[in-house]
């Protein structure tokens, strides 16, 4: 598959959108008395995903998307999800 920038951007957007939906629903399945810190981390990761989704779309041309920024965003999301999983 030829992953040109436009297609890669679209794939990223779809991935982020799926994470956004899952991430928005998942925290509410936790025990909201015992797992409040995890709830905070997961909701924060969802907000970062939302910001990245807006960032991917809020461009006038494909070339303006800074992939390093997206990578940093993904790393932050992964870190927050990790904290959400290990924190009570």
């Amino acid at each position: 598959m030829n992953l040109d920038t436009a297609k890669l951007r679209r794939l990223t957007a779809v991935g982020l959108f799926i994470f956004l939906i899952v991430g928005a629903a998942l925290p509410w399945t936790l025990d909201l008395v015992a797992n409040q810190r995890a709830f905070g981390f997961l909701l924060a990761s969802d907000l970062i995903a939302f910001t990245m989704l807006v960032y991917v779309f809020d461009r006038e041309s494909d070339e303006e998307v800074n992939w390093n920024t997206l990578l940093i965003g993904c790393a932050v999301i992964a870190m927050l999800v990790f904290f959400g999983m290990v924190t009570p």
Partner: protein, 496 residues
Amino acid sequence: MSEGEEKKNAYERFVGWFDSRFGFEKTMLKPIPDYSLNPLYWLGIIMLVTFLMQGVTGIYMTMNYVPTPAEAYSSTTYIISNVPLGHFVETLHLYTAYAMILVTFLHLARNYFGCAQKKPRELMWVAGILMMFIVLGFGITGYLLPWTVISKSATDVAIGIVGYLPSQISSFAASLLSGTGTDAAELTRFFSIHTVWLPAALIGFLALKIYMFEVHGPSYMPIYGKAKKSKIWPWFPRVFLYAAKLIPIFVAILFVVAALFPLVLPPVYNPETVSAYVIQPDWYFLAIYQVLKFGFFESSHIPYAIGTIALFFVVLILLPFYDRSPRRNIGSRPVYTTAGLIALAEFISLTIWGYLTPGQVIPTPVALAGLFGVAIGVTAVTWAAYWIRKRRALQHPTAKPVLPAEKPAPTADKNTVPDKASFFGLGRYTRFTTLFFVFLSVASVALACLTQNAAQATVNLTALLVPGCCFAFSMLCLLWMVKRAVVAFEEGRIAQ
């Protein structure tokens, strides 16, 4: 889709769907220039976001909080232990309050150094200062509500200070804050002020400020603006999407901080155990608290301390009415820039000094040395920058000025294509300013510690060396930064 209509992508269809239903593009707020798509222009909106978060988390807590001395603490612990998300919401309420106060201070500093108070925005400045008092009022009144030993005792100290005001004011203020003087009356009044009066007042001022912002638009600040022609963006979708990136990141940071550092409630208030604790206000009042602890303001001289603090705020609120010069650039305003930096450095150093010396009265010589030391240090650094600028200008008459020259706001040019922006438009100026303030803060704190330690009866060499080295290093860094900035401007590496 008609044949003549261009094929739209998913994003355009999505935006178009909303716009065709709500008409945002035509009705929602005035278009704003490209240079204001920078977080430093958005501190007011961030403050509004914190206020909304305060409202949501506060309303959630009021469903379980009972504002009586007997049940305030137990209902707070009940929220923390038993209510779903109660601990998280309680913590978030606290950190959002801190963020609100911090953003208010940053907004004030940014408007001061960017001259946003100049004509025709004088009344926006006055409204902003009054809003700052309301925000600090939120802090005072909210601090008491959990009824902990620290919060109740600190509030009693604050109410006690009101007694030093002229009798006509103090009797009214005392009846407003503590009513009949019982604990129940005090808590009921604080709860009422915190949840009804102050939010109503803040909403009124917010509406006024937003209206005035719509009339005057964002104030152009040469130090932060981009040196190019500015494009005008409509609020929807461009500016709206910028906000949709900025605000969730800010909220996410608050969520992470709340998750990392959950609130730990101090013990319940008990008059018999108060003496075992050192009474300390929250961080935003530590600077004022430190001033009240100075030897020359002790006991009967407290009215003078209150008068001095009140005078500072009067001078601050009247700023746009005596600083009427059209000059807006820090490069051409050495006196106001130096005064602002001194005030900032004094606030930071007094806050940390107050934190490090809880309950200690500061002897007069130490207090004077700390106050004047910070002021002289800041003045020396700032004036060194202006002196280097002047010397370079004399040596190279054709060279560009050291600090950005006075220039009009970029004109709107609809045909100008904006440069490829960084994630939030953070430019060199912002990074330079941030780093400069970091070193300035370290230098101020180190000097305060140095002065404090030097006045101890038994002088510890390590206690002098560490802050001394920090102070010397920070001052060297500040001078180096100033020198680098001078050279960069002279060589034209930093755009005018």
